[in-house]
């Protein structure tokens, strides 16, 4: 009798297991946890961008876990602040990889920090998905000047090498400016890369770059630099800097009576900058990876869920990229046939699965290129003078 009971139990168990894994052949991760770690700049210069990224990620984690997780596994996301500092960013990454044993990393917020973090993740064979870094040599050559492609580094953010030229070209088509001055923070990778891209693209667009004014990102008073730019009376002022710098330059230039056009990069693309610049920033144009009103399938759901979660706050590009990143990792994990016993093996499986991701995100239909970069629609947006943005062009 007892033996029969046992056989019956085993049969039921086998049946349950079969049902569990019968949904399209996906493996069951039931009861397991997928540990992810995000390295974000929540304070200091990058604190203008990091918190929205975190909020987007947390929303995606919450949604996925609430709807049954990844094949039954819950996602646990650890977010750590790197204080916008390269050394701290690398230290945090090391801790997450080796001590917290995360399966994959997201971040860091700033390209300047990615220079330290991405090669580290690559050498420790841990997949890392860049969510907001837009500098040069992020993917595939994370070990630049070594050009061997980095296998474990991916990015879902739009590189400035695509965004800045698109923005310049579209403005030139609209308004035919003749002259420009570039204001660039020289001691920051994101900013100086952006400046380099501007310099490489002005001539082809018929703009005479009258002067490049370099300064350091930590300087309090930017008015002497703005005066240098304004005195040349350029049609366009290019600003490739981050944090509070773009808004400070805009305010000072307008106060000094300059009426021309501001063109910028990813440093413009958050509500905080638009809000700080307020009426002085109205019309400042940049190319963005995301626009709140885009009509991609999953965007409207994302926007309304985000607003519901965060007291009516609008998401921005960084929230959308953070949110998309979690969805990308969750989809990859679902297909990766993870073991949860062999961490190194799982990291490799996840990496391989990431290369084949093909899902809908608020950024649009998402696939990585062969270089692990993003290929997507570019939105040229302009600051609206009250803390938001309006759409100028959609560039497919």
């Amino acid at each position: 009798m007892k033996r029969l009971h046992l056989v019956g139990l085993l049969a039921v168990a086998a049946l349950v297991a079969a049902c569990g894994s019968s949904g399209g052949g996906a493996p069951s991760y039931s009861g397991k946890t997928i540990k992810l770690g995000a390295i974000l700049s929540l304070t200091q210069a990058g604190g203008v961008y990091g918190p929205q990224g975190r909020d987007g990620m947390n929303l995606a984690v919450k949604q996925i876990n609430a709807s049954g997780g990844v094949n039954g596994a819950q996602i646990s996301l650890t977010v750590r602040d790197d204080a916008s500092d390269k050394a701290q960013s690398a230290a945090v990454a090391q801790t997450l990889i080796q001590q917290d044993q995360v399966m994959a990393l997201l971040g860091p917020t700033l390209s300047n920090s990615a220079v330290a973090v991405h090669p580290l993740a690559e050498s420790l064979k841990t997949p890392i998905l860049a969510v907001s870094t837009t500098g040069i040599h992020i993917v595939p050559d994370c070990n630049f000047p070594t050009t061997t492609p980095c296998k474990f580094v991916f990015r879902d953010s739009l590189g400035e090498e695509t965004a800045i030229p698109a923005n310049i070209k579209s403005y030139v088509a609209d308004s035919h400016p003749k002259t420009g001055v570039l204001l660039v923070a020289q001691d920051d990778k994101f900013s100086s890369d952006g400046g380099q891209i501007v310099q490489n693209n002005v001539a082809a667009n018929g703009i005479d770059l009258l002067k490049t004014v370099k300064f350091n990102k930590g300087e309090a008073d930017l008015s002497p630099y703005v005066t240098q730019a304004v005195q040349l009376r350029p049609d366009v002022i290019f600003i490739t800097s981050l944090g509070a710098i773009p808004a400070k330059i805009m305010i000072e230039a307008r106060r000094q009576g300059w009426q021309g056009q501001f063109l910028g990069g990813n440093g413009f693309n958050t509500a905080t900058v638009s809000k700080q610049a307020a009426d002085k920033g109205k019309g400042a144009r940049s190319a963005s990876a995301w626009y709140i009103g885009n009509t991609f399938a999953s965007n409207a759901d994302f926007v309304s869920a985000y607003k519901a979660e965060y007291n009516g706050t609008d998401p921005d590009q960084f929230s959308a990229q953070g949110y998309a990143a979690i969805k990308i990792l969750a989809d990859s994990a679902k297909r990766a046939n993870l073991t949860f016993t062999d961490l190194a093996g799982d990291r490799e499986k996840l990496r391989a699965a990431m290369e084949k991701v093909n899902i809908q995100t608020p950024l649009g239909p998402f696939q990585f290129t062969a270089d692990h970069d993003v290929k997507q629609t570019v939105w040229v947006i302009a600051m609206d003078g009250v803390g938001g943005f309006t759409l100028v062009h959609e560039l497919k």
């Binding site: 929540l42 604190g47 203008v48 930590g218 309090a220 008073d221 240098q228 400070k248 000094q256």
Partner: protein, 304 residues
């Protein structure tokens, strides 16, 4: 060059105002109060918050912001300095306690988000914000090629008036004599019946009020208020200014502030935009080699 000269005078005024408070504490106590930069930020942050989040008029918010900064001076004295004096700790210990307090103040403001413990004080986290132009009108005049912004122009008379008042108080009033006595020799001052602790508290209150005011003017003039405005360039330059002027000399801090502003802008115009820090500090270095006591540092160590 002309607009650049104005730029130099404006930033020089802010350096001066920041440095006067800084040097005052050094003059009286022989201690560098490294929390001064945090008070500078605190004054600006609380004033912004009172205007934007609590709807007060700018000038009311300014007065409250300065008062809050002055109170912060008392906190510095009671938390960082007095306990060390009681235990006869070496002056270097005060460097650590004041740095510690500065970090705590910055971290506390950084945590200020809607719904958090510090939401009444600051809700913008690590973000940088600017006074809205509706709340703080910033009239701009164009005279020829020159641009004069009200928010910058007012700094000059305010700075000069305050420094004159401070100079008068120190030199000609009973309180000033008390301060100088403490600066000269605290033990002798105590033996003469002076309440030394009270004098030191007063020094910190005045110093911090000036620091807070400098922060408010900085925030309004440069459209930049964040938990970090006291750091980086302001703190290091403030230190440079008081060394240049002569440690502890109020007049030296004023002259030093304007001088540093001028050297910096001159470096940008004459050499190039990225020469600012290098040239300014090279000039400081030269200055110190030629005159180690600073511009106004008396050989006989007559302080403040």
């Amino acid at each position: 060059m002309d607009q650049q000269l104005l730029n130099a005078i404006f930033i020089g005024s802010i350096y001066a105002l920041f440095a006067v408070g800084y040097t005052l504490v050094f003059g009286v106590l022989d201690i560098l109060n490294l929390a001064h930069s945090a008070v500078f930020m605190f004054g600006a942050a609380i004033t912004y918050s009172l205007v934007v989040n609590h709807g007060l008029a700018f000038w009311v918010a300014c007065i409250l912001g300065i008062a809050a900064s002055a109170l912060m001076g008392l906190v510095i004295e009671h938390v960082c300095l007095r306990p060390l004096r009681r235990r006869r700790a070496p002056p270097i210990a005060a460097l650590i306690t004041t740095i510690g307090l500065a970090l705590i103040i910055v971290a506390a403001i950084e945590q200020g988000k809607p719904g958090s413990l510090f939401a009444w004080l600051w809700v913008d986290g690590a973000n940088s914000v600017a006074f809205p132009s509706t709340a703080v009108p910033n009239t701009t005049w164009h005279v020829g090629d020159l641009t004069l912004q009200a928010s910058k122009v007012v700094i000059i008379p305010i700075s000069i008036a305050l420094m004159l008042v401070l100079g008068y108080v120190i030199r000609y009033t009973q309180v000033g004599r008390g301060l100088r006595a403490v600066a000269e020799n605290p033990r002798a001052a105590r033996l003469m019946g002076l309440d030394v602790d009270r004098m030191i508290s007063l020094t910190l209150v005045i110093s911090s009020a000036l620091g807070g005011l400098a922060g408010i003017l900085f925030g309004a003039a440069l459209s930049d208020i964040s938990p970090y405005i006291g750091r980086d360039s302001v703190e290091v330059r403030g230190l440079a200014v008081i060394v240049l002027g002569g440690m502890g000399s109020v007049a030296g801090a004023v002259v030093g502030g304007y001088l540093l502003g001028l050297i910096e802008v001159l470096a940008i115009v004459a050499i190039g935009s990225n020469a600012r820090g290098g040239v300014a500090f090279a000039a400081l270095f030269l200055m110190l080699v030629l005159r180690p006591q600073g511009l106004f540092g008396a050989q006989l160590r007559e302080k403040i």
